[in-house]
Point group: C2
Chain length 556, copies 2
């Protein structure tokens, strides 16, 4: 069987200028990065504003398991299928972080015959967006430490700097560090830590900013820490939002690439969904809506994290809400949610499937709360049996939800035609009537409760003493109107990663809030959510190589 990279390297890519023509963009609208990647410039994006919007399809999933779901693969295959049906379609995906690529994933650009290309470039440095974010983030850190070192006129409490440095790598040794050691010439010692770049507030800002001025304003609003008398200190007080925006001026432009079948795809921005809002950029999604009749986009992890944040945090910055939501599941993963062990997944087990369906069911009902049509996509595996699929179909019918199998991994768009037809039909039949889960005017506490009750179905939210104290100060600062971005394990509806299926009677504890005034939300930390992954014992990087003529080896 061919690997993803073998499949992708056998494809003859079309020049990106040709791909752009499919969505009405000329060569002058593009800033080329080689023959097969391009950024779309600001002038072009502005020109699009007056156009009508296409239809928006949000692809989400059940809670991920080690069995795998293939959400990006389905997103890509569904778009290819829509194009085969002569629905003019483009994709808006997140760009991968190098950390997981080097660590465990090897690549994150779909799989099989449903991939975005050139996969090597996208998985490695791509057009440099991640590096620009890393640099802007760490430049701010350098400016902060330099300010403290050079007299600290802003009276920043070095013990209360909340702005952390980042690298786009999995590097556990950087989670907690002490910087500024070595005596008075080397700066002021303080505790610090590194997050992975995709967890940086700047990544969230880049993905929510609507233009350069908005980007700069958001950067200026970032709270980097507090003074000795507990006043928040912002980037605009340091006066470096201009330099930071300058470093990000190209990263803000959406990246255009293509699928194996030549479907145009924006791959732009990539915040993690467990700690950040988990969606690709507003500029990419918004531009795609103006350029295509159908836009297929994806939100990170399960629908409890990525889709909730897409709907409650991202949609208010778009000109429209999704017209349909596709929830991706696999029979294997549902059986794991039903208690089956990983090494028994190849066995037919309709009972485990029925038990595990509880996870899918809750995601379906959650998404229906937003008044948007829901379709279930079963990403096929060879071990799936007809009996299992029949059981699943039956269970979905009881909920009045369409379910379709897709084999886009093995067949590309052709394997997604049934799904694509069902999606188009659902959009035609049932108009979306988006309703947000909470209102801006509710308190941070109420918003957190709304998410825990209506999405996670926990019975109660506990706020730690620290979280309670923070809520009071946030009220003083006037931050109450902001949405809440939950930081929670992706593996469970609850804050306990081991509780699969649809756990009941659990409580969720908010350990701490982190204000992200630039991104424009308040992060609520539950449990121990990792903002810097570590490498496994045998990292994927050990298998990577490059040939004498520059071909990548060992990206999956």
């Amino acid at each position: 069987m061919k690997t993803d990279i073998e499949i992708s390297q056998a494809v003859e890519l079309k020049p990106i200028v040709q791909i752009a023509e499919k969505i009405g963009l000329a060569a002058d609208d593009l800033e080329l990065y080689g023959k097969y990647k391009a950024k779309v410039g600001y002038e072009t994006i502005q020109k699009l504003n007056s156009r009508n919007d296409g239809k928006l399809i949000l692809v989400t999933a059940i809670n991920p398991t080690p069995a795998g779901e293939g959400k990006s693969t389905v997103t890509i295959g569904l778009a290819d299928a829509l194009n085969q049906l002569d629905c003019q379609t483009m994709i808006a995906l997140r760009e991968p972080s190098l950390g997981p690529v080097m660590g465990v994933k090897g690549g994150a650009t779909g799989g099989g015959y449903a991939q975005v290309l050139p996969m090597e470039d996208i998985n490695l440095h791509f057009t440099g967006d991640m590096h620009a974010i890393t640099t802007a983030n760490n430049a701010l850190s350098a400016f902060i430490d330099n300010h403290i070192h050079q007299g600290n006129t802003l009276n920043i409490d070095s013990r209360r700097v909340i702005w952390k440095r980042v690298v786009d790598l999995n590097d556990r040794a950087l989670r907690q560090v002490i910087v500024g050691l070595g005596g008075p010439v080397q700066g002021v010692p303080r505790e610090d830590g590194f997050d992975i770049t995709v967890a940086s507030e700047i990544m969230a800002i880049l993905c929510l900013a609507t233009d350069i001025d908005n980007l700069k304003a958001r950067l200026g609003n970032i709270v980097i820490g507090y003074t000795y008398d507990r006043k928040p200190v912002t980037v605009s007080q340091l006066g470096v939002q201009g330099a930071m925006a300058l470093l990000l001026k190209d990263a803000l432009k959406p990246n255009l690439v293509q699928t194996i079948e030549g479907t145009p795809a924006f791959v732009h921005g990539g915040p993690f969904a467990n700690i950040a809002h988990g969606c690709n950029s507003v500029l990419a999604t918004q531009s795609a809506l103006k350029l295509a009749d159908y836009v297929v986009t994806e939100a990170g992890f399960g629908a409890d994290l990525g889709a909730e944040k897409f709907l409650d945090i991202k949609v208010p910055h778009l000109s429209k809400a999704p017209d349909a939501i596709v929830i991706v599941a696999t029979i294997r993963a549902l059986k794991m949610h039903g208690g089956l062990a990983k090494d028994a997944l190849a066995n037919e087990d309709t009972e485990a499937l029925k038990r595990g369906f509880s996870n899918l069911k809750q995601h379906i009902e959650n998404m229906q709360q937003y008044n948007i049509p829901v379709i279930v996509a079963i990403n096929q595996f060879v071990s799936d049996t007809e009996a299992e699929f029949d059981v699943l179909t039956q269970l979905c019918q009881e909920l009045n939800v369409t379910v379709r199998r897709a084999n886009v991994w093995g067949e590309g768009g052709k394997g997604g035609l049934d799904l694509a037809k069902a999606v188009v039909e659902a959009i035609k039949q049932q108009p979306s009537n988006y309703q947000r889960l909470y209102q801006d005017s509710q308190s941070i506490e109420e918003k957190t409760q709304a998410i825990v009750e209506k999405i996670y179905h926990g019975k109660k939210v506990n706020f730690s003493a620290k979280a309670k104290a923070q809520l009071k100060t946030f009220e003083q600062y006037g931050w109450q109107h902001l949405p809440v971005c939950m930081a929670k394990t992706q593996y469970s509806f609850s804050d306990d990663a081991t509780k699969l299926g649809a756990p009941k009677d659990f409580e969720v504890t908010i350990r701490e809030f982190v204000p992200k005034l630039g991104a424009g939300f308040i992060v609520a930390l539950t449990g121990d959510v990792m903002t810097m992954p570590g490498l496994p014992k045998t990292p994927a990087g050990l298998n990577m190589d490059v040939t004498s003529d520059g071909q990548a080896v060992g990206l999956f």
Copy 2:
């Protein structure tokens, strides 16, 4: 008076495809990064191998002073002038580090009417080479710490890891850090530090590698530290040279840009000259020699550092040595070397000039030791007087060295025509007969002594107890044959930055050696050479901004 960025933004750039035609490259030879930047692919570089070499002109300088010399500006202007004389010429320059750009320099792409463009891009992320190096460097650090954390089968002594992390920023707080804090799950605590990216051994490797296989072999040779029983540990033992080479596969390709006058310029690689070898990449210089009749290149800081390293470390990897060496000086800087204070430099002072000439004289004589024709270029300032220039001309004539004034900052190539004619004449008249300062077969100690005696003109080298012990172990490891890369202040021939002019009777102390087996040299540390600069009280970044339509502001 227009600023550099104003001058550059008023220039109508030619598409890089047109610039490439001047050196016989077709569109297919280029990997475009936007319209005005491109990388030259491996296939093209290999095709060039059989061609004849052009003439190589090395531009170097006196020891830098706060008065400024303008070496890059003269390099660019000289090349533009040569093209005006119908000598087909291209440039091979280093690419700037973002740290100094954000810190004090604002930009590093020449000045006035002698600039390489697009200056904003080159000074910011350019084609991502620095970011690739940063990433490869820090990925190695993550692999090292992960190896120690996951059982440490190589028995690495965490107290003797010499591989440091890097950022491409000025950030003094990262000079000395402790990583791995937070308990057993977060890794093994150890002392570490961050250098600036241009000080990374990977930068030196990238600049000396001749192709991907050579790059990979060099990466594999890097010594990252020692075991508990004091054996060196290499990257190839960790098995990650493939992943690192993969991260660097595009960064290794030379970047093609243009000057204001349309002269093709490779801007590629940029190690600092005080701590590393200070020259642009071998691949860029070598390719330029195959593509143009004349190649003007530059080495960092004064001739005691950059030029010495160019001649003793880089030239052995090129197909030829320089045909001429241009030493850039300014009358202002020479007066500073003669003891004049910075605020008095505008006053005519031929006596200070005569005293300060000692610095230039020693550089001239040093370069003549290599048996290569030497020309002096005086980069003109409005405060220079005819009397001063007459004195300087007289002093140079006594040494039988041609001296020419250049006003390329104010006039571009036209201001460098006299200089260009003198250089062409020198090359015609006096064939270069390159002779290296030392031989591989000499000991590390003897090589160090050769540099200190023949270039710095110090009376003695002292080796610290640590350095002496290292020399013994290096002999055991078989590292004796490697060249020595001196790490010394750029401001003085001596290891004391305050000793201007041509100090005598000083001793140089080698505090420590650092083996750079990947780069293929042994660094000899004198005094306190900074491998991570700090930001000044008012960093250049505070004046930087970007307009709503994406134009850079505040790069000088």
